[in-house]
Structures are given as structure tokens and as C-alpha cells.
Symmetry: C2
Subunit: 273 residues, 2 copies
């Protein structure tokens, strides 16, 4: 149902197959509209070369992955994180990315204080926000599934992310990812609440069974998420940006030829999103 | 900090080591105050023998695990579930269990309709409630971690469980399990809201990393949950019942001698709960 003109592929979906240069070439040749870029892959490629290649392609950059990781055990650690986040903003601006995705970070080593981690997240985003605004890079807080609360991201519901947006003001929105949010009984209401603050929309599927907490995401249609229903809720906010396929799949999609993964992404995007 | 007089061990914690008869004997000899019983183990033992052994012991039964699994693809499936839930109530009554724990069930085979599954859960509990009330068996809706929404339980937050309690009325409460709920930014407020409807309190810990979605729970103190904080919130509701240790641990605690597991449960209960 989704229009292919809105298809972006997050390069993590072909992480094991392609360098950034190879992904730009392969996605472009397959007429994919956008790409989401990871900073480790960007560093390998070099920012100038990536900017040059993107300029020669028709690919839009739906997002840069990722800023965040704000909580740290001490002020020096938090400062290191802020410096890195400012560098990420500079990169996102150079790439013309639609947003910088923030995976906020979990508990600092040795801590059990989730409330304190959440305060560090708020303060960290607040501290980087002026630089993001000055560079016209929208920040996308991505609430991650509660199973990542300890070690990756202590922002675990869309409601919580929007409370942060309310507090922080212009320049901060949310990334809605069906994988992280599909279970939430309050999801429709919170997407409505988000309105124009939806700055990214990510799709994949929840497999049954799921055999790994991190690397066993499914292709759209292979799991149990009613993706079209959630897409409808997102559409109702007026969101008309790219829709990004992001699949971490160590035992399936990462083992297939990249061209096959792209082909199936295209098919399922039209049928299932 | 917790008083050993309130320690119950869920027999799943020694599932691989003990039959029900062996667990009753071992827990009693270790001066554990309570046991939570699983129906598959009860069936092996036989209800009359279990009742006789419990009568000869000082063990209280903090819960029977479990009722639930309400969603089904058709009316016949839902009726089968209701019949089974009524049998579970009869067993809980015979055992004098403090509650029947409900793990509500996830999506029926082939369905992606989470809202419909949640309606079936509400209707299922409503249908069994008169039998529970007549037998004076409190029902404990246990919200399960969102990672189980698809295949085990579509009730995933305490808020959602309490909404069901509000709708269904007397005889239905909640089981608060730190493993399922610790990540919820709204947890303190929802425990306050629960008040006297907290009918069970379960503890274990969230390990980092967690290597299995189901069978990698940690012993209290080995993970990142601030259990004492949550215990304080539960205490504030006036809950003064047994506190149950429930650990599914295929690769660690299930491989150790039962006596060692019980000993460590006792130690950590005093230090960490």
C-alpha cells in the first residue's frame, strides 16, 4: 500500500553486506528513495566522499544513526557524550539528513537509578539542542522497546519521549518505530498527540518466536505487527516524509545477498506497510 | 531488609530440581514461609496429595500459576480456556492459595489484532469472575513485560491491568512483578493507584546482558533493578502478604543444587529485597 517514492532503507538492514559506498550504489540502482546512515559506516567512508556520492545520487538521507548515550557515571563522561553528539549534528547537517536519531542511553555502569539516567538524558538533549537548532538538524528521540531500558535507552514509550519534547521545545521530535512501540495500548493516542513532532517513521516486524533481544527483527509481513494500522495513525498526523526499513537480523537477512534484501524490502514495503 | 517471614519461593525457581512434593519438603526444611505452585507440577503430584503435604507443613501458598490464556481464534477455543480457568480456581481454592495468577494470553494464532486480544482477555476474566468470587479466590492479573505481548500476555503495564480491575470490579487485583515492570516510568504512580488491589508481589532481577527472552532471569542483586525502591512503593500500599521469588534461569539457577538455590534466595531476600 505504501508508495515506493517514500521508501528509505536504513543501512543497518544490509550492514553485513555493504559498506556505505556500496549501499549508496546498490540502493540508488534499485531506485530506493532514501537511506539512513550509521556513523561507524560513515567514518569508514569519510564524510566528504559520502557527501560527494550522495550528491551524485538521487538518495535522500532519512536520518543519521545516531546520537544519544547521554547517561554516564561522571561529568567527564557526560561531556564526552555531548562532544560526540555535537559532532553527530555536524555530520547530519553536512549530509542534509532529515534528522539525527537519538538513542538516549541506559543506566550508567554500576547504577540502578533509572530516574537519574532519565534526568541525564533530558539534560543531555537540552545541552545539545542549541547546536542542533543552529544547524537546522531536527533531533528525533527514539523510544526503544522496554527490553532495552537497562543497556541502550531508558526512554521506552512514546508518551515519555513526548513529555521530553514538551519540556525541551522546538527542534526535538520523535522517531516512531513499530518494533519498539507496537505493544503499547496507548500508541494511537500518543501518535495523535505527537502530531507534527513525528520526524521519522521506521518499520520492520516482530517475529514469533523472537530468539535474540537485539538481532532478530523480521521483514515486514513476517511477524505479528499490524503495520498498516500504525502507518494509518502516523499518516493522520500529516507525516509525509520517508518511511525507513530498519532490520537487524544476524541469522537471516544479514546472511542474504544485498540485492535480494533490497528487492524484498521493496516488495514488502508496497504490500505490508 | 525484607523479613524472612514473608519469603515465598515460586516453585519455577527450582523447576528442574524438584517435583512439587520435593519442593514442599525442601522449602519447609529450609524454613521458607511460602510456595507458589505450578499446575503442571500439581497435576503430576495430584491435588489430594499436595493438599495433604501442605497441611503437614507450615507453608502458605502465595499463588497458583496459572490461569489466563484467554484469546483464541474461535468461541470453542475461548470456551476451552474458560473451562480450564474454572478448574484452576477450584484447585486454588483447594490449596488455600492467596491468589490465582492470570497470565492473560497473547495474539491468537494468525492474528495481528492486539486490541481484539485485549477485549477477549477482559471478557474472559469477566466470565470466570463469578466462579472466583464464589470460591473466594482472588484473581491476580499479572502484567507481563512488553516483550511477551505477542505470545504470552497482551497486558503489559500495570496501568492497563488496573484499568481492567476498574472495569471488572471486586475479586480482581494485580500481581506486581519487578521483572516485568521495573522499566515503566509510571510505575510508582500506578502502584500507588493499585492500593489494596496488589494481591501478589514477585521479585527477581534483570540481568545485563539478558541472553534469552524467557529463561534468563537473575537472582535479586545480580541485575540492575532497584528492588528495594519498588518494595517500598508496594509497602506503601499496605501490602503485607508474602513476597515471592520467581526465577526462570535455564543456564544458571536451574543447574544448581536445589538446596543452594534456596539458600541464596534466603540470603538475597534479606539483603536485596
Amino acid at each position: 500500500m505504501a508508495d515506493l517514492a517514500r521508501l528509505s532503507i536504513n543501512q543497518a538492514t544490509t550492514r553485513e553486506q555493504y559498506s556505505l559506498a556500496q549501499a549508496i550504489t546498490a540502493y540508488s540502482e534499485a531506485d530506493v528513495a532514501g537511506i539512513s546512515i550509521w556513523r561507524d559506516k560513515l567514518a569508514e567512508c569519510g564524510l566528504p566522499e559520502a557527501v560527494r556520492m550522495l550528491g551524485d545520487s538521487n538518495l535522500r538521507v532519512s536520518g543519521l544513526c545516531r546520537g544519544g548515550s547521554f547517561p554516564a557515571i561522571d561529568a567527564a563522561g557526560r561531556q564526552t557524550s555531548l562532544d560526540d553528539n555535537r559532532a553527530a549534528i555536524d555530520e547530519a547537517a553536512a549530509l542534509g539528513a532529515d534528522c539525527l536519531v537519538l538513542v538516549a542511553g541506559g543506566l550508567p555502569e554500576g547504577s540502578k537509578d533509572l530516574a537519574a539516567a532519565r534526568e541525564m538524558i533530558r539534560d543531555g538533549i537540552g545541552a545539545m539542542l542549541p547546536h542542533a537548532r543552529a544547524n537546522k538538524v531536527p533531533l528525533a528521540i527514539e523510544p526503544l522497546h522496554p527490553m532495552y531500558a537497562a543497556d541502550r535507552c531508558a526512554i521506552n514509550t512514546l508518551s515519555q519521549a513526548l513529555d521530553l519534547c514538551d519540556e525541551l521545545g522546538a527542534g526535538v521530535g520523535v522517531a516512531v518505530d513499530v518494533y519498539h512501540l507496537w505493544w503499547d495500548p496507548d500508541l494511537q493516542a500518543q501518535i495523535d498527540r505527537a502530531g507534527s513532532r513525528v520526524v521519522a517513521y521506521h518499520v520492520c516486524d516482530w517475529l514469533v518466536p523472537t530468539t535474540d533481544l537485539l538481532l532478530d527483527r523480521g521483514m515486514m509481513g513476517d511477524g505479528v505487527i499490524d503495520i498498516q494500522q500504525i502507518s494509518g495513525w502516523v499518516e493522520n498526523t500529516g507525516y509525509n516524509g520517508l518511511i525507513e526499513v530498519e532490520i537487524f537480523s544476524a541469522h537471516n537477512w544479514w546472511k542474504r545477498p544485498g540485492a535480494e534484501v533490497i528487492r524484498v524490502c521493496r516488495e514488502r514495503f508496497q504490500e505490508k506497510v
